[in-house]
């Protein structure tokens, strides 16, 4: 029985990991939007980490985050890996706290926005550290925050939409 549970978990982690990587690859195809810093993306793979944080365990959510960072490192280089890891770890931590706590009265949109904001803050901080220019906070910060509201709105809504369907599959296991 325990073996069956374990292999189910491994298989699901594999599927979810592949989904997160496919979504982040899909995003990288979107051309740079004018007015936004290059690299600003909708963060669709955040849906996967948020789902993992809400329906699986904290460890599994962080596993997906680390997998994404390694994938970014292999395909786009060390800088991309640091950017992905710094943003990903901060936003996954936020997702774990917000989605797993029963006391927090936030809807999915609010949680999505906070996660996106955390992701962008983490990336901005590491961008400042890498380039050594702290003025980036004022140059890019405002835009990134507004952008995070929009992307968090989208990811939060999508998470709410896919959760019932995914929940059905989970129950059948």
């Amino acid at each position: 029985m325990r073996d069956k549970k374990n292999s189910q978990r491994v298989a699901l982690l594999g599927i979810m990991g592949a989904l997160a990587l496919a979504l982040s690859f899909l995003e990288s195809l979107i051309p740079a939007l004018p007015g936004l810093p290059p690299g600003a993306k909708p963060g669709l793979s955040n849906i996967v980490t948020m789902f993992m944080a809400s329906s699986f365990s904290v460890a599994d959510a962080f596993f997906i985050t680390v997998l994404k960072a390694v994938f970014a490192g292999v395909t786009r280089g060390t800088t991309a890996m640091l950017m992905s890891a710094s943003g990903g770890i901060l936003s996954t931590a936020a997702a774990c706290v917000l989605l797993r706590s029963k006391k927090i009265n936030l809807g999915y949109i609010g949680i999505g926005i906070i996660c996106a904001v955390c992701h962008n803050i983490g990336q901005l901080m590491s961008a400042c550290l890498i380039s050594g220019t702290w003025s980036l906070i004022f140059g890019y910060g405002p835009l990134l925050l507004i952008f995070a509201v929009a992307t968090g709105f989208v990811t939060g809504t999508m998470l709410k939409l896919v959760l019932p369907a995914l929940g059905k599959i989970m129950n059948r296991l």
């Binding site: 970014a72 640091l82 999915y108 380039s131 980036l136 004022f138």
Partner: protein, 121 residues
């Protein structure tokens, strides 16, 4: 099961927007001077504060190469080389922008290190 949207979410959105406005305020005061430097043969021959330019005028730093200066911007306006790449560079108005006329070794560059090219992430 959590709801899609709650009143607290509205507060989150407002907080983030207010935060971004607060972060934007320093940019309004950050109008540090826009200085153009003209290099001939690798040496600075002229420094112009572009914000203090009242009327547009033309400089001729080296035979036939003309540079037009206007309030807040500067460009190559005439050259006697074939490709005229310096003219095609157009108006320079932001920190870090550079146009160069290589045949005559004339370079126009706007001083400032603020502009950082962000790597893709």
């Amino acid at each position: 099961m959590k709801k899609l949207f709650m009143r607290a979410d509205f507060i989150v959105i407002l907080t983030v927007i207010i935060l971004s406005i607060l972060l934007f305020i320093p940019n309004l005061f950050n109008n540090s001077t826009l200085t153009a430097q003209i290099y001939v043969d690798g040496e600075v021959v002229e420094e112009i504060n572009l914000q203090e330019v009242e009327k547009s005028y033309t400089l001729t730093p080296k035979n036939g190469t003309k540079i037009t200066v206007e309030k807040g911007k500067i460009c190559f306006s005439d050259a006697h080389c074939k490709d005229e790449l310096c003219i095609k560079s157009g108006w320079l108005s932001k920190k870090g922008q550079t146009a160069a006329c290589l045949p005559e070794r004339v370079v126009v560059s706007i001083k400032g290190t603020d502009k950082t090219d962000m790597m893709t992430y």
